[in-house]
C-alpha cells in the first residue's frame, strides 16, 4: 500500500519518495482527489503546511456549518473533513503534514518536488489543490519587521536552546503564545508576555501557570501592543509598547515571537511557471490541467471561465482530473467507466466486497 521506496535520487540529493501523484494541499478537494485517483489505482502522497488535514475547513471554520454540500443539508468543516478521511481510507494515501512544497521541477518524464523540510518526491503527476495558498503566520504590520525576521523575530521556535541568552518578548493571547511563554520561561534569560488585554483565550490551566510565574517574579506580563521595533542589522534591542491609554514605553528585548494567527499566502507556487492570473492557476475545463502537462490544479486555486469557488466544484474537478492523471500513470491503458454502486471491481478497491 505504501509507496515508500526510498531510492537515491540524482546528483547527491537525498533519497526520494517515488509515487504516482503528489497532491499539494489536504483540504476537502485534495482529500477527495485521493478517492477519485484511488478508484483508478493511482497512488497519492498528500502534503500540507498545516499540522492537520482539512485545509480551511479545519483551520478557519471547523465548527461552522456548510449548507451546500450535495446530500448533506448541514455539515461542519470538521465533520466534512472527518467524513472525507473515512471515505478515502481504503486508498492508503500517505500524508506529510507541517510541510510545504518549495521546489517543483521537471526531471525527465517525472517531477521532482522538495519540501521545506527536505522531503523529496519523484512523481508522474502533480495535483495542486492548494486553495487560497499556504497558511503562514501573520506578520505584524510594524515598520522594518522584515529586516529582523529570522535573526531576532520568529514566528515559530525550531530550537529552544537558541533562546538561552535572549530577553524574549512573546506577543499574543492564545495557546501558541501561552505555550511558548511556558516553554521558554525556564530557558530564556528573561520572558515577557505582551497581550492587548488582560484576558486570555488560551487554555485556562496555561493562563493559571503563566499568572503564577508572574506572581513569583519569574516572568513579566505586559498589557498593550507593540508600536515600533528598535535595533540594527536584524538584531532587536528594544520595542515600543503602547498601552491602552496611549502612553508609550520602551522595553529592552533581544528576541520577539509574535503569534497573530495565520493568513493564506500563495507562496512558492508563484515560481512554478504556471502563468498565474491574479494569483490563480489557469486550467482547461476538460482535465483541469495547467499550462504544464502533468501538472493539474483543482479547487479554489484554479481559474477558468465561469469558475465558482465552491467545494462541490472542486470535487467535480478532482473526478475529471483523475481520468487524465490515470493516462499519465498508465499510458495506453483504457479506463472502463464504472459506478461504485454496481462495479464489483470498484467495490473491491473500496473494501466493501
Amino acid at each position: 500500500m505504501l509507496d515508500k521506496n526510498p531510492q537515491t535520487g540524482g546528483e547527491g540529493s537525498a533519497s526520494a519518495i517515488e509515487t504516482d501523484v503528489v497532491i499539494v494541499g489536504a483540504g476537502p478537494v485534495g482529500l477527495f482527489a485521493v478517492f477519485e485517483l484511488g478508484l483508478l489505482d493511482v497512488k497519492a502522497h498528500v502534503i500540507d503546511i498545516l499540522d492537520k488535514v482539512g485545509g480551511q475547513c479545519a483551520e478557519l471554520y471547523p465548527e461552522k456549518p456548510i449548507y451546500d454540500i450535495p446530500g448533506l443539508p448541514i455539515v461542519t468543516g470538521q465533520q466534512l473533513t472527518d467524513q472525507l478521511m473515512e471515505q478515502i481510507k481504503p486508498f492508503g494515501a500517505n500524508f506529510h503534514l507541517g510541510e510545504r512544497i518549495d521546489v517543483l521541477k521537471r526531471e525527465g518524464e517525472r517531477f521532482r518536488l522538495v519540501t521545506d523540510a527536505g522531503t523529496t518526491f519523484l512523481t508522474t503527476v502533480v495535483v495542486i489543490a492548494a486553495g487560497g495558498g499556504s497558511f503562514t503566520p501573520k506578520r505584524p504590520p510594524l515598520e522594518g519587521i522584515e529586516g529582523f525576521e529570522g535573526k531576532s523575530v520568529f514566528y515559530s521556535v525550531r530550537k529552544i536552546a537558541e533562546f538561552m541568552d535572549k530577553d524574549v518578548l512573546i506577543v499574543g493571547g492564545g495557546d501558541s503564545a501561552l505555550d511558548w511563554t511556558l516553554n521558554l520561561q525556564p530557558v530564556a534569560r528573561s520572558v515577557t508576555l505582551l497581550h492587548r488585554r488582560d484576558d486570555f483565550r488560551g487554555a485556562p490551566h496555561s493562563v493559571e501557570k503563566m499568572r503564577q510565574l508572574v506572581a513569583d517574579g519569574k516572568m513579566k506580563l505586559a498589557i498593550g501592543q507593540v508600536s515600533a521595533l528598535h535595533g540594527q542589522d536584524g538584531w532587536l534591542d528594544a520595542v515600543t509598547i503602547k498601552a491602552k491609554d496611549g502612553t508609550e514605553q520602551r522595553l529592552p528585548i533581544t528576541a520577539m515571537l509574535p503569534f497573530f494567527g495565520l493568513t493564506m499566502k500563495l507562496g512558492p507556487i508563484a515560481d512554478w511557471g504556471l502563468n498565474l492570473e491574479e494569483n490563480l492557476i489557469p486550467v482547461d475545463t476538460e482535465k483541469f490541467e495547467t499550462s504544464e502537462p502533468g501538472i493539474f490544479a483543482i479547487g479554489d486555486i484554479n481559474t477558468y471561465p465561469g469558475k465558482l469557488k465552491l467545494i462541490l466544484s472542486g470535487f467535480h474537478e478532482a473526478a475529471l482530473m483523475a481520468q487524465k492523471a490515470h493516462q499519465y500513470v498508465y499510458p495506453g491503458k483504457k479506463v472502463l467507466f464504472q459506478y461504485t454502486t454496481s462495479s464489483s471491481n470498484l467495490q473491491k478497491k473500496l473494501g466493501v466486497r
Binding site: 480551511q56 478557519l60 461552522k64 488585554r197 501592543q225 493568513t263
Partner: protein, 106 residues
C-alpha cells in the same frame, strides 16, 4: 437602505448603500472597499475585516461579543472602537454609520 461611510487611512472616503440584514463586511466587499480583506468570508475566523467605529456610532453598533473579542486578538492596532465588520449586521438604525479602515489588516 442604510448609508455607510468608509474612511481610508489617507482620508478619502466611500459611501455605500447597504441592505438591512447583510453584514457591514458584505456591504464593503460588494462595493469593493479597499482594506477590507475578509479572508475567511465572514466566519469570524481571521480578523481581516477590522474597522474602527466612529465615536458617534459606538452605542448603536454595540460591543464585540466574546468570540469577536477573542478574534480581535489577531488584529493589529486594536482600539476601544475596534470591531470586525463581519459581525456588524446592517439595520435601518445604522443609516449614516461612519467607519475607519485601519492602515493594514496584517
Amino acid at each position: 437602505m442604510a448609508k455607510i461611510t468608509f474612511i481610508q487611512p489617507d482620508g478619502t472616503s466611500n459611501v455605500v448603500e447597504a441592505e438591512p440584514g447583510v453584514t457591514v463586511m458584505e456591504a464593503a466587499k460588494l462595493n469593493e472597499i479597499p482594506g477590507i480583506e475578509a479572508e475567511c468570508g465572514g466566519a469570524c475566523a481571521c480578523a481581516t475585516c477590522h474597522v474602527y467605529v466612529d465615536e458617534a456610532w459606538r452605542d448603536k453598533t454595540g460591543k464585540p461579543a466574546e468570540m469577536e473579542e477573542d478574534m480581535l486578538d489577531f488584529a493589529f492596532d486594536v482600539r476601544d472602537e475596534s470591531r470586525l465588520s463581519c459581525q456588524i449586521k446592517v439595520t435601518e438604525d445604522l443609516d449614516g454609520l461612519v467607519l475607519r479602515v485601519p492602515a493594514k489588516q496584517y
